[in-house]
């Protein structure tokens, strides 16, 4: 078990190295000289030189790369060109709405997706099953930002139940925050619940075909005990994977949905940085999201140790 954990941790190192390198290369992908691209067409030579110095672009490529690794190890993401503050500070300022939105959406996705999938499998080929799966199929076909727009149209413009857009920070009271996040969280979570339901259903169906389920029924266990105790726990293994992946998808989905609802989170930060060519911010947000993404995948892998004892013996 210890070797399994150690192996998973060691495997993170090369991936992290590639991630850091890709984030570094981003700034050099732009056609032409990055400093003058960042400075814009109206900048004079002094501005370009200032930016070149500020970003360390005057050093040779490999020196820049090594410096970049060194700075990352110290947790230094550099300074934003337009916000005139450290990138880490800009990210910390914007992380609250994104995090809350992701967690809220995750709750929506799991609370709707898992029961829908399990019920579908238990009543396989029934009307309930078919209705749920049609719903899930439509669900995976709607992009989250479109669902968000439709929600605004329906619940804000026509029914007037929720604010059209905007975000109320936690400091003004959590009720207001929750209210401002209901529509975005459902827009984000419902799409994901469809995916979770599909996976939960198919893994339940696979497990219900196993011999130990037949054995359970043969020894006279009730259908409830078979489905909810024996099958459910085993079917949760692939489902946990997809829930972990969902969490990662939701973070990146939040980036898009924030624009729909005008929520000042990491998504707005990176989009405005792209429009202003504020590369340090782009690199910082990208690294930050990728880092979280990697940690979640690690957590998913390690969670098998708890759920599936078979992993320990590998």
């Amino acid at each position: 078990m210890k070797t399994y954990v150690a192996r998973r941790l060691l495997a993170l190192i090369p991936v992290a190295l590639v991630v850091a390198t890709v984030a570094f290369v981003l700034i050099h992908l732009a056609p032409g000289d990055p400093a003058s691209v960042i400075a814009g067409p109206d900048a004079n030579a002094d501005d370009v030189q200032r930016i070149e110095r500020q970003l360390g672009l005057d050093a040779p490529f490999h020196v820049q790369l090594l410096r970049w690794y060194g700075r990352l190890l110290q947790g230094d993401l550099g300074e934003s060109i337009f916000l005139r503050k450290p990138v880490t500070e800009a990210i910390v300022d914007r992380v609250e709405p994104t995090l809350l939105l992701t967690l809220f959406a995750m709750a929506v996705a799991v609370v709707i997706g898992v029961p829908a999938g399990v019920l579908s499998a238990r009543f396989h080929n029934s009307a309930t099953d078919q209705a749920l799966m049609v719903f899930a199929l439509v669900g995976v076909s709607i992009p989250n930002f479109l669902l968000g727009l439709l929600f605004i149209l329906c619940f804000s413009v026509w029914l007037g139940w929720f604010p059209v857009a905007g975000y109320s920070p936690l400091e003004y009271g959590w009720m207001l925050t929750l209210r401002s996040l209901v529509l975005p969280a459902f827009a984000l979570g419902l799409v994901q619940s469809a995916l979770i339901a599909r996976i939960a259903r198919s893994s339940m169906l696979d497990v219900l075909r196993e011999q130990y389920i037949t054995a359970g029924r043969a020894k006279g266990l009730g259908e409830r005990a078979v489905v909810y105790k024996h099958a459910f726990r085993n079917a949760m293994i692939p489902t946990i994977t997809i829930i972990g992946i969902s969490f990662a998808i939701l973070i990146s989905g939040a980036v898009v949905v924030e624009t729909v609802f005008n929520i000042p989170g990491l998504g707005r930060l990176i989009i405005s940085a792209v429009l202003r060519r504020d590369y340090p911010v782009i690199q910082g947000v990208v690294l930050c999201v990728a880092g979280v993404y990697m940690l979640i995948n690690l957590a998913v892998d390690l969670s098998y140790l708890v759920i599936d004892p078979r992993v320990k013996y590998q």
Partner: protein, 298 residues
């Protein structure tokens, strides 16, 4: 020789190829194929069935759907119907170009990683690194560097999805290279190139083709999302994402700017998903066997 002579089965009437009948049996897959055919037809016939997507009838700004403008007009008086129709063209172009891109890059990398064990680690770690980024975030970051254009959108989305294809290919190659027929071919003196091209590649195509239909869907969605966010194709290009971005600003006065391109995206993705599921059933013998088994049980 059997003593009992079984009655000769009647000669089967000429039938369609097996894959057509297997596919046609899945009504849902056929529905997906029909939806896709519809989108392709609309895309191809765009200049015939619609007006110019960039002509501005300023006097008719934000007019509601009617006999003159079927889907209404946008904030500068452009015909939404024409823009949605031309948007289908763009989505199809981006979808197929991304599939092509990710197949070329993904299959080459996957082949090299799966076949040459020494290169496996290096190639796949790079792929893992690229997959450690959430798709849309990496695409946004790449667009920031490349700049807004249709070609750059294709490149950015292609880079994002190639590692996913590579992983599928590598997985198949690892299995196929150990099979007896590959070993036999090697024993007969086949070169690496001929082994890969004639024996391994054709046998690992099925999962890749299935993956292709999902990459297509993901590419259409990602393009729409990028354009919606304002970092995709330039604003004057008719794209479903661009129309939705306008629609967000005028959602109170002009809901048709959201509803029509939204319906177009949904139907296209639904069609692709159904078609992809059908393809998977068709090409994956394991699942195909399962279906007949289930039918027998029923």
């Amino acid at each position: 020789m059997s003593v009992l002579a079984l009655p000769q089965p009647a000669a089967a009437p000429r039938r369609l190829p097996r894959w057509v009948s297997v596919f046609a049996r899945r009504k849902i897959a056929v529905a997906g194929a029909v939806l896709m055919a519809l989108v392709v037809a609309v895309g191809l016939l765009a200049p015939v069935i619609s007006r110019s997507p960039t002509y501005m009838d300023v006097a008719a700004r934000l007019s509601a759907p009617g006999s003159m403008y079927w889907f209404g007009t946008d904030d500068v008086g452009r015909d939404v119907f024409s823009r949605v129709v031309y948007g289908a063209r763009l989505s199809l172009l981006v979808g197929s170009a991304v599939v092509l891109f990710s197949f070329v890059v993904g299959i080459s990398c996957g082949m090299v990683a799966g076949y040459y064990r020494r290169l496996d680690n290096a190639v796949m770690r790079v792929m893992d690194g690229l997959m450690a980024f959430p798709a849309i975030v990496l695409a946004i970051a790449l667009m920031a560097s490349l700049g807004p254009s249709v070609l750059n959108v294709i490149i950015a989305i292609g880079v994002v999805y190639s590692p996913r294809v590579a992983r599928v290919v590598r997985g198949s190659v690892l299995v196929i290279r150990e099979t007896a027929y590959v070993e036999a071919a090697r024993a007969l003196g086949a070169s690496d190139v001929s082994l890969i091209a004639r024996h391994i590649l054709p046998n690992c195509l099925s999962p890749v083709i299935v993956q292709g239909s999902f990459v297509f869907a993901a590419a259409v969605l990602t393009e729409a999302a990028l354009s919606f966010l304002g970092v995709g194709v330039p604003p004057y290009v008719p794209s479903w994402g661009n129309i939705l971005a306008d629609g967000r600003l005028y959602i109170q006065q002009a809901p048709w700017l959201v509803l029509f391109p939204g319906a177009a995206i949904m139907l296209t993705i639904l069609g692709l998903n159904l078609f992809g599921d059908g393809l998977r059933d068709l090409l994956d013998p394991k699942i195909r066997g399962l279906h007949t088994e289930r039918q027998r049980a029923a």
